[in-house]
């Protein structure tokens, strides 16, 4: 599954900026002015390179707010990718 990497989804309604994910995944996430995770690649759902997928899954399990999800597909190549479903 992780051959092509993955992407990280943050449930912003649950995240309280505890900072654990930014510490565990420094390659992917920085921290913003207010303590919330900030995608280094600037995407709404940052890319998780193949070699970090297992690590990202650990962060997903350890998030005290359960606000992190590792989604199996890497992000679309275009930043504003053409989703087939309407925006929610």
């Amino acid at each position: 599954m992780s051959r092509r990497g993955a992407r990280l989804h943050i449930d912003w309604t649950a995240c309280e900026g505890r900072g654990l994910c930014s510490e565990m995944l420094t390659e992917i996430l920085a921290i913003d002015d207010w303590g919330y995770p900030l995608a280094r690649d600037g995407r709404p759902e940052p890319a998780v390179p193949r070699e970090l997928v297992a690590h990202a899954r650990r962060a997903e399990r350890l998030c005290p707010r359960l606000a992190l999800r590792v989604l199996p597909e890497p992000p679309p190549t275009r930043p504003q990718g053409g989703s087939q479903l309407p925006p929610s």
Partner: protein
């Protein structure tokens, strides 16, 4: 407006797109003299029974009908996505949380049966078990109630329609907030991982469709896709309800074809009062079109260079005596206050953007304010459960782009519009 005016304004245009205007005096959505069912049926006939759902879906697709609630998503694709699931729910979304928009409540007042025909049709297309009218309290709810009573007596509604009251909040009409409210929870956006079209109300696939979209759907089913495309542009076919406010002689709701030059739309609303200034297009989370771009077509393609879109059809004409930076600061502060306070970047970033823009409007002589605004827009964009931060970012970026001379003046301690502020800033 006379026919001559139309011709003149078309000739003036430099764009080569294929705008076909509504003939003078013509309209589609607001024609009925009375909003009652008998008048509705006399004008338009009964809604044809849905014999071939797949064919109608293809016709809607070919007609190019797109959502009139703001996002402009293709209606056929949304219908198809919801139809793929089990026992869907359909919702007529008339929450209209955008303060500068009045078209949905106008439609409830003048054409409730067009909305309800569209809701029944959408329900039949997706195989819905539940249909809901989501409306603000007051005249719109009263109109919906009256209309439903008429229709019950006439047996017009195969799917019974429930009424759910929309709170008076900017985000009340956001798709997932609508779902939350109908589930009996506060009308707040939810995380995007569960898509509304797949798992909306109580886990059922849910179609949330703006009431104007449903009204167009009811007409499209009667008169066909070719008729629907008869006005507008090839990219944005059909008409839309524009709410024009601000410095115009006759503010109000006007039905016009997509592609209408912005200046012609303002003429429909009585024309500018005073010297023309910039217009805010697309709503509070929209973008400015400067005064010298009156010929720009109000269409997706026409407005794109300005970072704007027709959205829900909102146009606010900035009064001659008003400062664009001040107006933008006030709107940004309003938007910051209307956030759902769920997502950290929005909850923190929007008030900070509003504060920084207000300092600029107050003529604080610090060039760093502009760079700070740009940094904050990058920090906030795309980082929330809904697009509230993104709309606010759009407005702030557009303000920085549209008013560079004003910004220079403010940074020099003067303003082209406002007198010197009182110390302490009462605003």
């Amino acid at each position: 407006m006379t026919m001559l005016d139309h011709r003149e304004s078309r000739d003036r245009r430099t764009s080569t797109d294929d705008y076909r205007p509504l003939p003078p005096g013509a309209g589609r959505l607001l024609l009925a003299a009375h909003p009652d069912l008998a008048t509705h049926h006399r004008h338009l006939g009964l809604l044809p029974p849905l014999a071939q759902p797949a064919r109608l879906l293809a016709e809607i697709d070919a007609a190019g009908l797109r959502g009139r609630g703001g996002a402009g998503f293709p209606t056929a694709r949304k219908l198809a996505a919801v139809a793929a699931g089990r026992s869907p729910v359909v919702i007529a979304n008339g929450a209209e949380g955008e303060p500068a928009s009045a078209k949905d409540r106008t439609l409830w007042a003048h054409a409730p049966h067009l909305i309800l025909d569209g809701l029944q049709l959408a329900g039949a297309l997706v195989g819905a078990r539940r249909a809901i009218g989501y409306v603000p309290a007051g005249p719109s709810t009263a109109s919906l109630r009256r209309a439903l009573a008429d229709r019950e007596a006439a047996g017009a509604d195969p799917i019974p329609v429930e009424i759910v009251e929309a709170p008076d909040r900017f985000l009340a009409g956001e798709e997932s907030a609508v779902v939350s409210r109908i589930e009996g929870k506060p009308a707040l956006p939810r995380d995007t991982l569960r898509r509304v079209v797949v798992a909306g109300v109580d886990g059922h696939p849910t179609l949330v469709q703006n009431v104007e979209t449903l009204a167009h759907l009811a007409l499209l089913a009667r008169f066909g896709g070719a008729w629907f495309r008869g006005v507008g542009t090839s990219g944005d076919p059909g008409t839309f309800l524009a709410t024009v406010s601000g410095a115009v002689a006759a503010p109000g709701v006007y039905e016009v074809a997509y592609g209408i030059p912005l200046g012609d739309l303002l003429e429909r609303a009585g024309g500018w009062v005073g010297r023309p200034q910039a217009c805010l297009v697309g709503g509070y989370g929209g973008a400015w079109v400067p005064a010298d771009a009156a010929d720009v077509p109000v269409s997706t393609a026409g407005l794109r260079p300005f970072g704007a879109a027709p959205g829900a059809g909102v146009v606010v004409a900035l009064p001659a005596g008003a400062c664009g930076l001040r107006a933008a600061a006030d709107i940004t502060r309003y938007l910051a206050g209307q956030g759902a306070r769920q997502c950290g970047p929005c909850r923190n970033g929007l008030p900070q953007m509003a504060g920084t823009l207000t300092r600029l409007a107050d003529r604080e002589r610090s060039p760093a304010l502009v760079a700070e605004l740009e940094r904050l827009t990058r920090l906030v964009e795309g980082r929330g459960a809904c697009h509230h931060p993104d709309g606010t970012v759009r407005l702030v970026r557009s303000t920085l782009r549209t008013f560079p001379a004003e910004i220079d003046r403010h940074l020099a301690g003067t303003c082209g519009q406002e007198p010197m502020p009182a110390a302490g800033g009462a605003r």
